[in-house]
Every structure is written in C-alpha cells, then in structure tokens.
Symmetry: C2
Subunit: 200 residues, 2 copies
C-alpha cells in the first residue's frame, strides 16, 4: 500500500480510532479535512485540545458536566425524590428533550455486560444505593434500552432496590412507537402493546 504523507496518515489513524469509522471512511474524512481553510483546521484542533479539564462529572448524578454539581442537580425546582436511572449521558439528554420529567437523574455509566467485563462494580450502582439510603426517595424510574442488557440491568437493580419498600420502582412503558406499522411490528412489542392497552 502506498503511504500517504505522514501527517495525513496520522489524521487517518486518529479518525479510525473513533467508533464506526473504518479505514476508508477515515481516509475520506482526512482528505476532506485537509481541504478546510487553515483557520477552520486550527479551530477544530483547538476545540479538541481544550476538552481535557473542561469536562467533569457531576458527583451527584454522575452525568458529564461543566460544573459539579451539574445544572440539573443544583436546580431547586427539580424533584429530588424522583430518580431516573439511565445508562449513559446521551440517554439523559434524550429524556430531558421530552420535557416530561422534572425529577433528577442517576447515570450508571453503562449497563451490565459480564461477558465484556462490565460487572456491577464497574457501574455507579453503589452510589445509587447510597443515595437511596441517605435521601427520601419516592420513585425510581429505570430507563434503559429495551434490549437484553438493558432488561438484565433492570432486573438486577429491581432486586437490589426491593428491600426499600417505600420506593416505587417503574420502567418505561413498552408498546408501539409513533409511526409504527402493525404488520411489521415484532411479536414481543405487539404482545406488550396488547397487554398494556389503555382505555380511551
């Protein structure tokens, strides 16, 4: 294989380290990047060089944040008795975008995947338990992706939290998403939608 000039090969190597970017895509991105005006290239590098130190984790909800505690945890209007447990910061962002939830969050940092070494001690589960023991919590919403790992994590947390009798433990409703087609909906989703049908 021809070697691209070293600086370009470096760009390609860096892009390849990002998820979902293969060598061919990385090549395309690198060649597009070097065509940018010098000033925009500088700006790009600057943004990436400034990230270290500018991002921290909220010590209360473990979300990524610029300050500690984060804006949500330090907001007095949020209901501290309701905790929505999510896997990742972008799940939190998705729920915030609905404008439906006025409680607080707890970001686990992932879901249980023992095969990949993600055991309970790798997640912020002890921190969640400590929070539940210390504060008066009325409801915990387990908001995970409805896939194998998400379901397993929900069951694990539900068992852990069961001793706290006063806390209601809920999960996101299962049913048909907006725009879905009965004909093409999988059986588990459809059977969930049927079981949870609501009077109108």
């Amino acid at each position: 294989m021809i070697k691209f000039p070293k600086p370009i090969q470096n760009l390609i190597d860096q892009f390849t380290k990002l998820p979902g970017i293969g060598p061919k895509t990385a090549e395309r991105l690198a060649f597009a990047f070097i065509k940018w005006p010098a000033k925009e290239k500088e700006e790009f590098a600057k943004v990436f060089s400034q990230i270290n130190g500018s991002i921290t984790h909220c010590s209360v909800c473990h979300n990524i944040s610029e300050k500690d505690p984060c804006t949500i945890c330090s907001d007095k209007a949020r209901d501290k008795a309701k905790i929505c447990v999510v896997a990742e910061p972008h799940d939190l962002a998705a729920i915030e975008n609905t404008n439906e939830f006025k409680g607080t969050y707890h970001v686990l940092g992932g879901v249980l995947e023992p095969l990949y070494g993600i055991t309970p001690d790798k997640l912020k589960i002890n921190e969640l338990l400590a929070k539940v023991q210390k504060n008066k919590i009325s409801e915990i919403i387990l908001a995970f992706n409805p896939d194998m790992e998400g379901e397993a994590t929900m069951i694990y947390l539900k068992n852990l939290l069961q001793p706290f009798k006063k806390i209601i433990i809920t999960r996101l409703a299962r049913g048909m998403p907006v725009g879905a087609d009965l004909e093409y909906t999988d059986e588990i989703t459809l059977s969930n939608a049927l079981k949870n049908r609501k009077e109108i």
Copy 2:
C-alpha cells in the same frame, strides 16, 4: 433541545462539519471521544493542530505532499514522458497501490462540474497544458471515475490535448470488475465489456 455542556457541543459541531457525519453520528463520536484517556485525547488534538504547515502541494504534479517536489516527481526512476491525470490525491493513491504504473501524475484537484462552479479555470488544467508544451510527453492517461463528470472532463481534456499530435491519449479500460455478476451488470458496462473483448 437540551444543550449539552458547551465543550461537548463544540465537539459535536466540529464533527458535523465533516462530510457524511450528521448530528446524531457527531453526538456518538463526541461521547465516545470524551471517554478516551486524557493522553489519547491530547494526541488526537495534537495531530490535528500540527496539520497546518506540515502539508504542502507538489508544484510539479499538484499532489499533496510533505515536500516539494514530492517523492514521486523527484524519483529519477519514474518515466516522466508518461503522465497519468487524476482528479484527487486519493485517486493517485489508488493507482499507486496497483504497482502497475511507473510514470508520473498530474492531480487536477477535481472534475468539471459547471453547475457547482467547478469550471476549467478552477482545475489545474493550464498547468497540465504548460507541462505538455514544455516537456516531451509520449502518453497521457486520463484516469477519472467512469461517471458523468469524469467522462465530461475526459472529453474536455481530450479536445484540449488533440493538437499535440505526438501524444497518445488513453483512458482506463471499461469492462467488468473482478467478482461481478453478468446477471446484475448494467447494460453500459456489459456492452463496453463486449466491445473491448480480448482474445485469450
């Protein structure tokens, strides 16, 4: 929409500027990036900050290069009488990887796309003509993508170069690619493959 912390939003904005990266992909890349170890993040930023000034264009073939003239143009073993004209540096890389061509290159910097403002004066066409007038050239290979713009550029260059009677102007063979399926090959490709059939 929830605003991510400013530094992360900045990452997302920068990623979105790259071709083929939409807002959702950019978000995924940004969140993956901030999980990198601090050292790797620094390395990433460094590579991108060093690109300005480290890459130049070869004044002979107009390929991107670390030095001017580039390694190919300054290689005495390469046949200077044969010029392979390509649109972009990555086309040159693709041809170099075949190890078939021992001549030199001329990178136009694109193909003719008048609708998008890419007229002949935007490409290195005058530089190609100057090269042809000054040097003794035996063959010019027009190696463009066999699409509308590539074909148009080839026809344009062929007409320009026709006055130089001694120069043979060639193009890449058209036919079936390795692994193709007769049944699914389009008619133009198949008719080209038939027209250009070879005795075995």
